[in-house]
Symmetry: C2
């Protein structure tokens, strides 16, 4: 069936909207990489203007009319067709955009810009009082925002449900809680067993390792993974991220420490996973709502796959440790592969989420998720958050932050966005990464051996065919079902962690 004129008209309008998003991404990338300090004020204003224009165009009633007129065309198509998917996903974007009052969008955007600046200044000063009022206001905005999205789904039961649904479609407070509880029950005994076992020494990582050389190594590896530098690049920043300007320009950013081997390398692997996902999306989806990762959890699953499942595996380093040693001969000549492998997989409860190991990382996320919920429900007051945070860290990780900087103020999320929906995606990503990888191994049991030879084509090809290419055509539950034949499942992650860390720490589990 030939597409009606309304379909072309819709795509034309979407292209304008996504050109504005693409432009915003360029401005945001520049802001985080190269912008001189003097550019900050105007840049915030320019980003605000682009966002406002895109929002106006997306909520134009003409879009709603086109979507209505396209109903019969859509109904005659297979749900799996690109055209039906485009219409369906656009309808949801339109619905979300029209539900939120423009004045609220603008108020929130102004508030967040200011709140972020305040946090950026207050955090190094360890000054929670300075951010407290902003946080109260952010909380209030988060509730209003969530409330305005309530019509999206009659099954929402909790104030946080719409916020979770927005980043991780199909998940709600109760489903996340059930998943987290199951994972927690497996993690607590694992962490306990590890902490009672012999200590791993990672001193070998704390020497002088010139950042340029670390990044050159990482760059070579991610090209082997499948990241395409003809359609991307890597630049330095403070808080690494990946960003898509178009199908042909998906960039990653990184940060490296000259006195620590690893963070810069693993951050590069991580962002390359996000980048390969975006680079692998069907190019026909460019400048439409299909041309992007489908959910926060699915996105994170891809970064975690390349960072951890591949990048921190013994097989990977069986191939790559020799080149790394050759790069840093003085520093690593007396460090065996086994010592190095244990060092980069050292498990130790710590204060800072972004520096946490694979095992304890998810405990950090659970803390944040529970606090988001308690704050939104009004069960915890903002002023009581620091004390609650410290108590919870003591209870869950056995350590108490000595300051706010690396405690309650460590993450940018609540200070640069809404409260709620921000954190669950990280742990969902860890879960899904393991689940997808387990599925890939069923069809391709040769993958680990290939990784041991520095070959990644089979894994990359499988991920691209099964996940990347689809962009947002399938929502997260659909995609998980399609790929794995079942719903989200915690067990692959649990097996992966038990097996890997049982071996490293010689545990009897």
């Amino acid at each position: 069936m030939e597409a009606p004129a309304q379909y072309s008209e819709l795509k034309k309008r979407l292209s304008e909207i996504y050109d504005l998003y693409g432009a915003s991404s360029v401005l945001g990338w520049d802001q985080a990489t190269y912008m001189p300090p003097g550019g900050a004020a105007a840049r915030a204003r320019q980003l605000g203007t682009l966002s406002k224009l895109a929002q106006e165009k997306l909520t134009d009633p003409a879009i709603g009319k086109l979507l209505d007129e396209l109903r019969s065309f859509e109904n005659n198509l297979s749900r799996d067709s690109d055209e039906a998917s485009l219409i369906r996903v656009t309808r949801r974007s339109y619905q979300i955009a029209t539900l939120i009052p423009p004045a609220l969008v603008e108020e929130i955007s102004n508030h967040i810009a200011m709140a972020y600046q305040t946090w950026a200044k207050a955090r190094p000063e360890n000054n929670f009082v300075a951010v407290q009022d902003n946080l109260e206001k952010t909380l209030d905005y988060s509730r209003q925002y969530a409330e305005s999205l309530r019509p999206l789904d009659s099954n929402y039961r909790h104030v946080m449900d719409p916020l979770i649904d927005l980043s991780d479609y199909g998940m709600q407070v109760e489903t996340v809680q059930s998943v987290f509880t199951e994972l927690r029950q497996a993690l607590v005994p694992l962490v306990k067993a590890i902490s009672e076992s012999s200590v791993t020494d990672d001193a070998c990582l704390y020497q002088s390792f010139p950042g340029d050389q670390q990044l050159a190594f990482a760059k070579e590896v991610i090209q082997k993974f499948g990241y395409d530098f003809q359609r991307g690049r890597q630049d330095p920043t403070h808080h690494p991220f990946a960003t898509r300007f178009s199908a042909g320009d998906v960039r990653i950013t990184t940060r490296v420490d000259d006195h620590h081997l690893g963070d810069g390398i693993f951050a590069t692997f991580h962002e390359s996973g996000h980048g390969m996902y975006e680079q692998g999306i069907n190019v026909d989806f460019d400048a439409t709502p299909l041309g992007g990762g489908t959910s926060a959890g699915i996105h994170e699953s891809q970064s975690r796959t390349w960072e951890n499942i591949v990048g921190r595996s013994r097989a990977f380093w069986e191939h790559y440790y020799a080149p790394l040693q050759a790069l840093f001969p003085d520093q690593l000549k007396n460090v065996s592969l086994d010592t190095f492998y244990r060092a980069i997989n050292k498990v130790e409860p710590s204060l800072v989420r972004v520096k946490a190991d694979e095992v304890t990382y998810n405990l950090h996320i659970m803390v944040r998720f529970d606090f988001e919920l308690a704050l939104l429900e009004g069960k915890l007051a903002v002023k009581d958050l620091p004390e609650a945070w410290n108590a919870r860290y003591q209870a869950d990780l056995g350590i108490t932050p000595s300051d706010y900087k690396d405690g309650v103020m460590q993450d940018v999320h609540w200070f640069a966005g809404l409260i709620g929906g921000a954190f669950q995606g990280y742990t969902l990503g860890n879960i899904l990464g393991a689940q997808f990888y387990q599925t890939a191994l069923k069809s391709h049991p040769e993958i680990p051996a290939e990784i041991g030879q520095g070959k990644f084509d089979t894994l990359y090809g499988w991920l691209r065919a099964n996940i990347y290419q689809h962009g947002s055509k399938y929502n997260a539950p659909e995609l998980i079902q399609r790929v794995t034949g079942g719903p989200l499942d915690v067990q692959p992650l649990v097996s992966y962690l038990y097996s890997k860390y049982g071996e490293i720490y010689g545990l009897n589990l």
Copy 2:
């Protein structure tokens, strides 16, 4: 008098438009510096969308209505006031924008994008035939564009007049021709006298001079000039340019050759002149039509002042040659200041405009200006252009290009924009640079001595107070009158060139 509500409304609308321009500039800068090849197609489309949206907003009849309603407010203000200037300059922008049919704008923009790609590929292949049809079409579009602007001024007599007026307000074919004739009459005997005098040897510049070190040197100098790196930065590119994102973010780009001392340094000085002009504009003019340089010629006068009048002066190098020698001790230890000074000021008729010396440079511009005119008037056919080009170079500069690459196809202008109005600004800039500098010396005869001590505050301060800060508040003729007390005058440039090169070449003029 308090500004009426319409004035704030106008400023609000202008801010949106200029945010779109600012965003376009960021995308253009990235395109020319860091964008990977894969990003090209979508970037062109994104730039097209931003430009279209800005054009729609600028031609919104609501702007015309506001401008009408602001007449009486404007008439009660002094013409020199910021408010009256904003209204006046906006009215002209609005008038220009509304005169050009949107369909023509879009056609031209699409054509140019394609024509540029074709040229970029055909030039290294020395293939004029490949660009010929595009050039015909560009010529046709240039005529249509100029024709649509005819209502701007009843004094236009020539098809090229509106195109010149757009970049160099107040100038027309006849005024440019009269200026160029006067300059040419002075240049021809000077070039002849130089070519008959002793030859200058610039071999000392052709050694290994690591680009990083050259740029580090240039960076230190331009900071002394007054370029502010807190509100700007410098990045590598193929064709150096300066670009403004906002009052607080004005960037320059440069290119450097590891095997030639000078090009990278003087290109940096040049772009810093453009950059200081934009950085020096009253910050209150940001995101309005006043917040930019007022004409192509005035802009170029500032780049030429710092590149040539300051940067290639003997006084400058009396201070800076020692640090340069210290940077390149092996390469320069046997090169005296006098030898170096002569080398960087070597006059020699050559094929490539951008590599031309101060004296012959303007002859290159005159060639191009005359050809633009002949093409637009239909007195020269595109197919005959290469032959005419070569003949003219032989006649004017005494050399014939051996290829198109460094002949008729050397400049990007006709392949990335309209034909007409593109070139005269460069020579007007040289003229105005000398004229402004002569005026500055009248108030501050100490300037050359200060330059000899590596001090630039007096000159920078004078330029900022008299030129930079005004942005586009005054048009070019008004500004020239205000600064110098008279109209544009060729004689200061002639005196400057005769005096400087008479001394270098020991001429009896």
